[in-house]
Structure formats: C-alpha cells, structure tokens
Amino acid sequence: MPAVRAEGLTKMFDGFKAVDAIDFQIEEGECFGFLGPNGAGKSTTMRMIHCGSPVTSGKLEVLGMDVNDSPRQIKQVIGVAPQENNLDPDFTVRRNLTVYGRYFDIPNGECGRRADRLLEFMQLSEKRDEMIPEISGGMKRRLIIARAMMNEPRMLILDEPTTGLDPQARHLIWEKVRELKRQKVTVLLTTHYMDEAERLCDRLVIMDHGKIILEGRPRELIDRVIGADVLEIDVPGDEMEAYVKERGWQYERTIDRLLVYTDQGQRVVAELKERFSMSYYLIRNATLEDVFLRSTGRALVE
C-alpha cells in the first residue's frame, strides 16, 4: 500500500488554483520531497495530506484512507511538524510533549515515557523544564519534530524543518531524519534548501504554479536536466554566447554569467579558451539547485 496516493488533486482558493490536478504516489518508508518556489502549492498539498485543508477535487489517500472520510483516523497515525512555530507557550518543553500526546489519547504514563525518550533523541533533555520562549530557534524546531513523533507516526510530515537554523542545528536535524528513515518511517519533506533535499530525499517533485513539473530521484534529475558539470563563466560576451549556441550546448545566460551544462566540462573549457579570453571561470558538479533554477526560472517569486 502506498503511503500517499493523489490523483487529479486540486485546491482552489476563491477562483485561484493553488494546486492544479496533480498526481503522485509516495511509497511507505521513503523520504519524499516537495520543492518549489514560494506559492508553488507545496504547503497547500501538505496541508491537504494532513487533513488540515479540504480537497477541492480529485482523490487523495493517506495510508489507504481517504482524507474526506477518515480525517481522525489519518491524523491518529501521522505526525506533523509545521513550518510555523506553534508550540504551546503556556507549557514547559516536556509538558508540550505530554499534553500533545494526550490529544492522541495516549495514557499519561506512556506519554511521559515517550516524552523522555524523544527529548533524549532530540538532545533536549537538559531543557525539559524550560518554558518555550526561553529556548533557541533550533531547539524549538527540534521540539516540534519531537512533538510530531509523540504518536509514533507511520508517516512524518516535515514542513521546512531547518529554515532559519544555523549549520550545527541543520546537521543535527538531518541526522535525526536519516535515523527515522532507517526505522522505516515515511518522511514527507518540503524545503527551500536544495542541498537538504539532495541529502535526504529518495525521491522528490518540483512544483511550480500548482503543478508538478519534475519528478524523480535527486541524482537522476541532475543527470537528466543538467548533466554532470556546470561551467560558470564570468562576464561573458555575446560572441561567446553565439558560439555556445551554435555548438548546440545546453546553456543559460544570467545578468553576469554564462552557465553551460555539460557532461564534459574540461573539454568545453579547452575549446572555449582557444577562441575567447576568459578572465574567470569555474567548473563544478551540477547540483539540485541547478535543476531547480533551470526548471522554475530565475525570476523572483514574491
């Protein structure tokens, strides 16, 4: 049974299509990423999956259950770590977990045991008696993830889990997500950080304007859309661009750079060097960020 199955999934807000008839399937035990610029529809999709927003049309099944018919049953077995910090400021760190566990009808004793175990897991044991406003942003994110795990979910939804965190805190969260993957928990992830998606996701989709524009494994997508290497040339001339175009190489011209996508970076550089003076250039491995920018465009989304 797939963890999530969507067919023609659509969400309308006052005549505006936030999610436009998308199809996807997430298998149990995989880490699946939703990427896309702001307003692409990824958070809306996540909210429909955790029954926080009604589906306008199409079919959406979570762990074999229809979101329209069984929201309580679905919410009982999934964990949600929202983008927004909505920890309960009226309680201590530990109490946030036990009170949350009670919403799942978990007995008090068991709530306490799970809370202690999760605080340990997220390295928050020392902060157990602190109030929420007193802990750092990174700790809040970890606590939100710990809270999402109180009901020992079969599927965990992480909506931008590392936004605004320092590198140490990000790496700690990545470690924990990998540990969950080893425990065969299905993880759904949205992120703006392509390195994060590349490290964590088994498969991902890139969304734009409510539609899925790319789907696949991170490495596969890089190979398919970009190739092995990216050659970045500073301050290119129009003749150089014309030459690259004539040679039939995949390229992109930004305001101050020429990006050539190729599997043979060294050979392309040698060829260009023969004909043009290049003050500065760089050959680097293609990344998911290249895929993202190439597929969703470089224009700012406000």
Partner: protein, 262 residues
C-alpha cells in the same frame, strides 16, 4: 445537524489542556474571584447601601440592599468568567499562540476544539462563581439549601456566555475589537440586569428590554436560589439558557469553521 456531527469526547483533551494551564498559575487565578466580591460588598453594600434605608421587596421577601446585591455579584462572576475566557483567552490561543492550528494536526476536529474551549469557559464560570458564592454565603447573604444549586446554574450560564463569546471570537479581526462586544453588551448587562438594583424600578419597556438580556435570567436565578424563592423565574431562566446556548453555540461553530477552514 451536520454542524454537530464532528464533536466527540476528544474535546475533553482540549479542556484538560486549559485546565492544566489554569492550575499551573493557580495562585493568580484564585485570588481575584475571592477578593473582588469582598471589595464590591464593602463598597456597594456597606458604603453605598448605607444610603438606602428602605428594604428591597423581592419575590415576596424583604431584603436589605447588601443582601439584594450579593447574588448579583455571583451572577456577574458567571458572566465574566466564561466571557473573558472565550473572548480574549480563546482569541489569544487561536490567533497569537496558534494552539488551534497545533491541535488540528491531532485527531481532534475543529468542532472538538470549539466545544473544549466552551466547556472550559463554563468551568471558569463554575469555579469563579463558586468562590464568590462561598464568600457571600459565609457572611450569610446566600442561604441553604437553594445555594447548592447555584454552581449548576453557574456551569449552565457559563456555557451560554462562553458560546456567546466564541461567536464574537469567530468574527473579530483583532484583540482590540473585543471592546465592541464589551461596550455594547457586557457592560450594559453588568449594570442593567437586576444586578445592582431591582428591575421593578425601571419603566415597563426597560423591564422588557432587560428580560431579553442573558444576565438578567442568571441574576434572577442566583437571587431566587440564594433566598429559596421558588417561582417561574427558574423555569423561564432554564429555557432561556437552553435556547440562547443552542443558538450561539451553533452560530459559533459555523462561523469558526468559516474563519479557520481554508
């Protein structure tokens, strides 16, 4: 009744959340309902009441002003307990603390959350009114056995004022907007619901207007029970509370869904 089909016993979990916060800060929570009636009894009863020589005729009994006033204070605490909790309190939890959003990701439905909040609001009325009642009863301004039923009225009346407050909570754009329901409904009720003076001094239209106000019925019931006056007020009041609660509860569920489900 599709509006009610999503309410379940799970709303108790939300009630418990609010109870836990209340008990966590119990020292600040128990003091005001204990001190406030004493201040009112001294200022209004002993101070202002000293100017009132004649006894007040009420339900066939003749009461000193301070004895007339005391059950009114219980009624006021019923109104304020639930109304504050489900207006400012619920709005802060919904809008600033995002507590509703967090709980919505658990098996609770939005309807469970609203029901849990209203149950808690009624519980606040029950707690506050019982404390006020204890103070009033100790000085003899509320009598056995009728006073034993007042906490029941407090809970039922609490449900009514909590539902009314939730209705406003579902409508107001920000915290400051609660000034309107307070200025337009709560303060007039506080003053004109037979709390501080008997309604019989008002002209006929004034009395009829007062009978439309929820607090009038709570105030009548609290006073009748305090002095063991058994008349139609109890039946009329019970019917009024039931009807008013049903309408405002359904309205608040409907409007809250409209506000939060996107």
């Amino acid at each position: 009744m599709t509006l009610l089909s999503n309410i379940s016993w799970r709303s108790i979990a939300l009630w418990k959340r609010n109870r836990d916060v209340f008990l966590f800060t119990w020292k600040t929570n128990f003091l005001p309902p204990f001190l406030e009636p004493i201040l009112y009894l001294v200022a209004m009863g002993l101070g202002f009441g000293a100017l009132i020589q004649a006894d007040i005729e009420y339900g066939g009994r003749s009461l000193e002003y301070i004895k007339f006033l005391a059950p009114g204070l219980v009624a006021i605490s019923i109104m304020y307990g639930a109304f504050f909790e489900c207006s400012y309190g619920s709005f802060v939890r919904m809008y600033y603390q995002k507590t509703f959003d967090a709980v919505l990701a658990t098996p609770l439905s939005l309807e469970d959350i609203i029901a849990g909040e209203i149950l808690w609001g009624a519980t606040k009325s029950f707690i506050n009114a019982t404390i006020v009642l204890a103070v009033v009863a100790v000085v003899g301004f509320s009598e056995m056995p009728g006073l034993l039923l007042i906490p029941v009225v407090a809970f039922a009346g609490g449900l009514m004022f909590a539902s009314l407050a939730m209705l406003f909570t579902s409508l107001v754009p920000n915290l400051d907007s609660f000034n309107y329901p307070f200025f337009l409904f709560i303060t007039p009720m506080f003053l004109f619901s037979g709390t501080f003076f008997p309604l019989s001094v008002l002209p006929g239209w004034g009395q009829q207007l007062a009978m439309a106000l929820p607090l009038t019925h709570i105030s009548n019931m609290a006073r009748d029970l305090s002095y063991n006056i058994w008349d139609a007020d109890m039946i009329i009041g019970t019917a009024y509370i039931a009807l008013f609660t049903a309408i405002t509860f359904l309205g608040s569920v409907y409007l809250m869904k409209k506000r939060l489900v996107k």
